[in-house]
């Protein structure tokens, strides 16, 4: 995936006019096909994770990203090499978007030695320093302070990196979010706060939990600019993230993007989602689905016909099937792993 990004960057450089947001938003063939494939990978991966959960192969809590794929993929497309990502526990999609191997992600879900955390983290606690992915955090809102700290390190080193810090509409009511906003703006930290507003904090709708439901305004009293973005449109997400990243990278401090989105499944696998109607979910799936949207665009522009799309789907299904098989058959961690990684050994 990293190589594909380089190729895409190279293509953009060759065509300087494409740097204009409206032209980028128009999307070229390679670019749209990549987003389509990446979003589809996340959806099929999550569907399979749901199945494995039902089979008892995945334990504990498992929060699926289905419906929100355009956000992780669109923001990732706006990142530069070295930029960091941190989020909460609905993070499988971000990891795949970051370029982590679906096998190691799925194997972590099944608690195997070949998982990204060697089976010791699970669904909510995954990381990849190689991919610049800093978790995977299980405490609602904690990643906001941590991501602000990663941005602090970026500014300390003056390395022009940006930390993309994701959180949900539920976390947006945590006090530490505002403590972090304050320091981020006070010290001009290069952080983009990406609020994935999927309308429900577990079972509590945003109307019932938030006095100000327009979350992009939540930075106003800290002088942090914010805007609302259609989080179901990967091109809109990407364009907004590029603008926000440029703001942060140029030393102007944090930026807030409120991505309006929707999750199709329950909060976690154990949530029957009785707090909303079937019609509400169906309506979103029918009219706003991020993958359908790109599929239509690809066909309309003549970038891909039905056969080409089916080929991509088949390829993605194979990757996911291989990941599931790998995760099912990989060995559990050796009992000796119980006591490793509690402390970093001190070099003598």
């Amino acid at each position: 995936m990293a190589r594909e990004q380089t190729g895409e960057a190279g293509r953009r450089k060759a065509n300087a006019a494409a740097a204009k947001p409206d032209m980028v938003a128009a999307g070229g063939s390679d670019e749209l096909l990549k987003y389509y494939r990446d979003m589809l990978l996340i959806r099929r991966f999550e569907e399979r994770a749901g199945q494995l959960y039902g089979m008892g192969l995945i334990g504990g809590f498992c929060h699926l990203y289905i419906g929100q794929e355009a956000i992780a993929v669109g923001v990732q497309a706006a990142q530069k090499p070295g930029d960091q990502v941190i989020t909460g526990y609905r993070e499988h999609g971000h990891m795949l978007a970051c370029g982590m191997d679906p096998k190691e992600v799925m194997a972590e879900l099944t608690g195997r030695a070949s998982g990204s955390s060697r089976g010791k983290g699970g669904s909510m606690h995954m990381f990849s320093t190689e991919a610049g992915f800093y978790g995977g955090h299980g405490i609602v809102g904690a990643q906001v302070s941590l991501g602000t700290g990663i941005a602090f390190a970026n500014r300390y080193r003056n390395d022009k990196k940006v930390c993309f810090t994701y959180f949900g509409d539920g976390a947006a009511n945590q006090g530490q979010v505002y403590e972090s906003f304050n320091m981020a703006e006070l010290w001009d930290l290069p952080v983009v706060y990406v609020i994935e507003n999927n309308q429900y904090a577990m079972g509590t709708s945003i109307d019932r939990s938030s006095a100000e439901t327009h979350l992009y305004k939540r930075g106003a009293s800290f002088r942090i600019p914010g805007e609302e973005v259609d989080g179901m449109d990967v091109l809109a997400v990407k364009a907004a993230a590029e603008k926000a990243a440029e703001h942060a990278r140029s030393g102007k401090g944090p930026y807030i993007l409120e991505m309006k989105t929707y999750r199709y499944r329950g909060h976690s696998m154990s949530d029957p989602a009785k707090y909303r109607t079937r019609d509400e979910v169906d309506e979103v799936r029918k009219t706003r689905d991020p993958i359908d949207h790109i599929e239509e665009l690809l066909e309309k522009k003549g970038f891909a016909d039905e056969a080409a799309l089916k080929a991509i789907d088949a390829q993605v299904k194979r990757i996911v099937a291989d990941a599931a098989e790998f995760a099912r058959t990989s060995p559990e961690p050796d009992p000796s792993e119980l006591y490793t990684d509690v402390y970093t050994e001190v070099a003598v």
Binding site: S117, H125, I139, G149, A153, N182
Partner: protein, 455 residues
């Protein structure tokens, strides 16, 4: 005739410098007039006259250092009652402000707190030049030396930079290292503990100062859930080389919310290292070790020790290894196990016990996690008797842990059931007499040692 007394600027102040007189003999003053300036290493303030009268004598010359609290510093003529001046108080910290420095009657500032005995250790420091410095300056020196040594080390916290530290532990660091590396934070413990941990995850080595560990309760989620657990949850990928430090335990008369010992809270958590030094040499050597350690370290200091001087090795890179206890006094009669300020009480209790024919061995744990239980067990095998002393509450405490492990490892060597001395099982009271009753004391330690010695 009224004596003007040296006022206390804070609950823990014992002495200060009379920096400047604003009046001279013969001047007429009225209530509220500023007559002098007083300084300590933590704060400065103006002294106001509380009575009308004429300055009859200035008893302490301008510039005199180490003037004890309640020493008469001037004499006013006039028929008024004996009252100390009302300090025009500038709080050095929230902790101090929450005490009541505006004393209306002279009170012994030391309260229930015993003087700590500086203890040199000639064996350990053989061949090394020793200088007397305070615990406060030892901590400062440790940070300064490590910041010179490693550009990734920085200090953040409330009032650490421009104010020079609420307790002046970070004095002069801003001047040497600038505001990039000595960072004043808003009063936002949860946020800046998380921010520091995030910076550590990205490879920096933050020192996060809490004005006191009482306020770190708002940040304990990041200390435990983010800093301590992430290495494990990430399969060894994400490190957090970070030090959380600040004063811990009871100061003096600051009440229940500002007077808690968190040693057992943090000592409970795998992934953390927990240090609680007693003297200045350990404060310096262990803090340097903590900053260099690649793991999250909770470093518990004691406000009552900040101003105490001890011998500290000079001119060498003085690093004390984490995880090693220290026998501070040898004896064969009973083992006293303690940490932080209580070590000083144990040493004084040992002197009293010696008068009664009981030679106590005093073990200073220094590191609470990982605990050097081998040193404790070796001592118990010699003395066959154990008393633990801690400033925190007893239930689920450090003493409970030490006793459990000694029972597991050296049951057959015990000649009496172990005893624990700890704070009484109540929130720390404010009233001086109740506070005294609540905290461990030399008398309580002596009593426990005699019980386990059947004397």
């Amino acid at each position: 005739m009224t004596d003007v007394l040296m006022p206390a600027l804070s609950p823990t102040m014992e002495e200060g410098t009379l920096a400047k007189w604003h009046v001279k003999v013969g001047d007429a003053v009225k209530s509220g007039d500023v007559i002098a300036e007083i300084e300590t290493d933590k704060a400065t303030m103006e002294v106001e006259a509380v009575d009308e009268g004429r300055i009859e004598a200035l008893l302490v010359p301008e510039g005199t250092q180490d003037v004890k609290v309640n020493t008469p510093i001037a004499r006013l003529s006039g028929e008024t009652s004996v009252t100390p001046p009302t300090p025009n108080f500038e709080p050095a910290s929230r902790a101090e402000a929450s005490g009541d420095p505006r004393r209306s009657t002279p009170a012994p500032v030391a309260g229930p707190v015993a003087v700590c005995l500086p203890v040199a250790d000639p064996e350990l420091y053989a061949g090394v030049n020793l200088v007397k410095i305070t615990v406060r300056d030892a901590l400062r020196d440790a940070m300064a030396e490590e910041m010179r040594h490693d550009p990734d080390v920085f200090l953040m916290g409330e009032e650490v930079a421009q104010y020079q530290g609420a307790y002046k532990v970070s004095r002069d660091l801003l001047q040497e290292f600038g505001d990039k590396r000595v960072v004043d934070t808003p009063i936002t413990e949860y946020g800046f503990a998380g921010l520091g941990t995030g910076a550590a995850m990205a490879g920096l080595k933050p020192i996060v100062e809490f004005m006191t560990f009482n306020f770190a309760m708002q940040a304990i989620d990041h200390i435990i859930n983010s800093a301590a657990k992430t290495l494990y949850m990430s399969g060894g990928q994400i490190r957090a080389s970070i030090v959380f430090r600040g004063p811990n335990g009871a100061a003096s008369r600051v009440g229940a919310q500002h007077s808690q010992d968190y040693a057992s809270w943090y000592g409970h958590v795998p992934g953390l290292k927990v240090l609680a030094p007693y003297d200045a040499a350990d404060a310096k050597g262990l803090l340097k070790a903590a900053i260099r350690d690649p793991n999250p370290v909770v470093f518990l200091e004691h406000e009552m020790l900040y101003g105490t001087e001890f011998d500290v090795p000079e001119g060498i890179d003085w690093v004390v290894p984490i995880g090693k206890a220290k026998v501070r006094r040898e004896g064969t009669g009973v083992t006293l196990v303690s940490y932080s300020r209580m070590v000083g009480l144990c040493l004084q209790a040992a002197e009293k016990l010696a008068e009664e024919g009981i030679e106590a061995e005093v073990v200073d744990l220094r590191t609470l996690r990982p605990m050097d239980i081998a040193t404790v067990v070796a001592s118990v095998k010699k003395t066959n008797r154990l008393v633990t002393v801690e400033e925190g509450w007893g239930p689920m405490g450090v003493g409970a842990e030490v006793c459990a492990r000694v029972v597991e490892l050296a049951f057959d060597y015990l000649d009496a059931p172990p005893m624990r001395v700890h704070q009484e099982d109540v929130p720390l009271p404010y009233a001086a007499n109740l506070e005294l009753l609540s905290l461990p004391s030399i008398e309580k330690i002596v009593k426990a040692a005699k019980i386990v010695s059947y004397k």
